[in-house]
């Protein structure tokens, strides 16, 4: 590792490879309003500050990089006076220090990165940036509030603010999760400042309403501040979950490194829960007000408006056969004066859903599935790496789901039964059951409702709202895009094969639990099981990158599954979560 850090081979061949991939991902992200909005909110909030730059660089800059520039960057920044090393594991400290001294002892030079931190620019008035993405059916909205340097280096109160506003379960924005408008807040703290972002996504014909609701919620957060009880509940939950979130050695070393690099006291990580518990209602109010003063979320005069435009591009195929182009029809033109889909597109959506139901075996058969057991092989992907294991998924009406995954490194079982959820982890060293909180239970219920059968049954429910949103390719197949708000208020986008009308993909793209990530499921290898067209292959894509795949080996329907597998095992709960 030391050789790689001190003497990397930054040649043109290697650069071409990583640059091609970086530019490819950048281009792919241009079809995702969420990715574009996330990038621009930093640009607007930190205009004139280094944090305004896209973390991965702007495409035109990345395309123009050569090995000489990388070598110059490395020479200027990779120096021992601004570097920190942590080793965590079953190691002898003396030997570890000796090894680091030997590996890095010859490293010398001074970094160009020293100097005083730059304060974020003062915000005179809220700034609004509109990014035009022709053809997009979905709009992403972000309101950013700069977190002043003081709060960024003393993160406790602002963390509670984020948790109460929209970052945690039970937050002000959370009641909207799972309904038509799913909103969230997210806090990112860096050395010189941070950014608290409130965000949501909405169909392009509902943007005005979505912005209004976010603005109203922000105003309410100021006019009806969190009570002592709310603050206490939040700080206690954060403090309690901190050790759990950092129980792995990788997380612990990351905490230690972050604290050391920012000049925090050596006991920062150990004292974090105690300091979090000391957060008061007053300090929360101060942090909230500082953020509100620096933000662009308040509707008042003197706003500065900017407008950027991303040109429409020709359709293309995304990675893994997933077309990412947005529908060319529908969108803004398909809504009435109140932002509701017009009757024509609602009628077309309903008809397409009926055809899809018929193509999959009919509503009676779909509703007749009372339990299912799906067994197969699951593969997780992360960058160039993947890990494959066995996978079993059990469902039983109503609202019972159990997911078993087993890998050479360990096994987990996650289950939900109504409002109760738990996770069982066994990695050979630790064998424990965790009682999950309401957020995880909701996520698992969402998972339960997200298989092909439940999506189709929900779409056929008269209480669901469906609307045709145009056509879009998924891989080589042109599909009809149908937007659905299910009876529980969750929003889905269904992709139905243009000729056969079968459901081949579904997208949920406003999930607060994934901070607005676009989650797309694709269904393939449809085979007939008891008269139903059932997928034997599924993929999940997060923001355009494949996250996992499942190859199904067997499907059993209505085998008389009992409620027993969904009950929490009797092991002691080591880490009860909120």
């Amino acid at each position: 590792m030391s050789d790689a850090v001190i003497n990397p081979l930054l040649d043109d061949d290697g650069l071409r490879t990583v640059r091609r991939e970086a530019v490819g991902k950048w281009i792919e992200s241009r079809d995702h309003p969420d990715a574009i909005a996330d990038e621009h909110v930093w640009g607007v909030a930190f205009d004139g500050h280094p944090y305004a730059r896209p973390e991965r660089g702007a495409m035109e800059e990345v395309a123009g990089l050569n090995s000489a520039r990388l070598i110059a960057f490395h020479r200027g920044c990779y120096r021992p006076d601004h570097a920190w090393v942590a080793i965590a594991g079953d190691v002898d400290p003396e030997k570890a220090f000796a090894a680091v001294r030997e590996a890095f002892g010859g490293w010398s030079g001074r970094s160009r990165t020293g100097g005083d931190p730059i304060a974020p620019p003062p915000i005179q008035a809220p700034r609004i940036r509109l990014v035009d993405l022709p053809g997009a059916t979905q709009a992403a909205i972000r309101i950013g509030c700069v977190v002043p340097p003081g709060d960024a280096s003393d993160p406790y109160a602002i963390t509670v603010v984020n948790d109460l506003l929209g970052g945690g379960p039970g937050s002000r924005l959370a009641p909207e999760s799972g309904r038509v408008l799913r909103s969230y807040s997210d806090l990112q703290l860096y050395g010189e400042a941070g950014l608290l972002v409130v965000g949501t996504s909405a169909a392009t014909d509902s943007v005005v309403r979505a912005v209004g609701r976010l603005r109203d919620e922000l105003r309410r957060f100021v006019s009806s501040p969190p009570s002592e009880a709310e603050v206490q509940r939040s700080r206690h939950a954060i403090a309690r979950s901190y050790p759990i979130r950092n129980e792995s050695i990788a997380a612990q070393s990351a905490q230690w490194l972050g604290a050391a690099a920012r000049g925090f006291s050596p006991g920062y990580a150990e004292r974090y829960p105690e300091r979090m518990e000391a957060v008061t209602t007053d300090s929360v109010a101060r942090s909230r007000d500082a953020g509100a003063r620096s933000g662009s979320g308040r509707d008042r005069g003197g706003r500065r408006r900017e407008r950027a435009r991303i040109p429409a591009r020709e359709p293309r195929q995304g990675r893994g056969g997933l077309g990412q182009r947005r529908a060319r029809t529908g969108g803004a033109a398909s809504g009435d004066a109140h932002g509701r889909p017009r009757l024509g597109v609602r009628h077309a959506g309903r008809q397409l859903v009926q055809k899809a139901i018929a193509a999959h075996g009919g509503l009676t058969r779909l509703k007749g599935v009372k339990d299912s057991r799906v067994q197969g092989e699951i593969t997780f992907y992360q960058g160039d790496q993947s890990v494959t294991g066995s996978h079993v998924e059990l469902r039983r009406e109503p609202n019972r789901l159990r997911v078993e995954s087993e890998f050479p490194q360990g096994a987990t079982i996650q289950a939900v039964s109504g409002d109760t959820a738990w996770t069982h982890v066994n990695n050979g060293v630790r064998d424990s059951v965790v009682d999950e909180g309401s957020d995880a239970a909701e996520a698992l219920r969402h998972e339960y409702a997200g298989d092909l059968q439940h999506l189709l049954v929900a779409a056929a429910d008269p209480k669901s709202r469906v609307a045709w949103r145009g056509q879009e390719p998924v891989g080589q197949i042109m599909t009809d895009v149908v937007e659905m708000i299910d009876p529980a208020g969750a929003r889905w986008v269904l992709f139905l094969e243009g000729d056969k009308h079968r459901l081949i993909a579904a997208e949920e793209n406003q999930g607060s639990l994934l901070r607005g990530a676009v989650v797309r499921r694709t269904f393939g290898d449809l085979r007939t099981v008891q008269g139903l067209a059932w997928p034997y292959y599924e993929e999940r894509w997060l923001n355009g990158a494949r996250a996992l795949s499942v190859k199904v080996k067997s499907v059993q329907l209505n085998s008389g599954l009992t409620t027993e597998p969904f009950r929490r095992p009797g092991l002691a709960a080591k880490h009860p979560r909120r």
């Binding site: 003497n7 660089g57 800059e61 160009r112 890990v387 987990t412 969402h446």
Partner: protein
């Protein structure tokens, strides 16, 4: 490991240099070709990777392959 080599340290016309440099840390060194470097790391049963955020580059090594905790959510 943290090195103060994040995107906030990029000079004009260096946009993206922080991340690409971090990614290239695993593509060989001055004395080891990419193939040789990969073989030596694999022989240790280890992985080496790099990435960058706004403030820091984050080179990291593990003595065993990283695993993603299985789960659907």
């Amino acid at each position: 490991m943290l090195v103060a080599a994040g995107s906030r340290h990029e000079e004009p016309f260096e946009g993206g240099a922080a991340r690409l440099t971090a990614l290239l840390l695993t593509s060989g060194t001055a004395s080891r070709s990419a193939e040789q470097y990969t073989k030596e790391v694999e022989a240790l049963g280890a992985t080496v990777a790099g990435d960058a955020t706004r403030d820091f580059a984050t080179p990291r090594a593990r003595s065993a392959p990283p695993i993603s905790l299985p789960g659907w959510t």
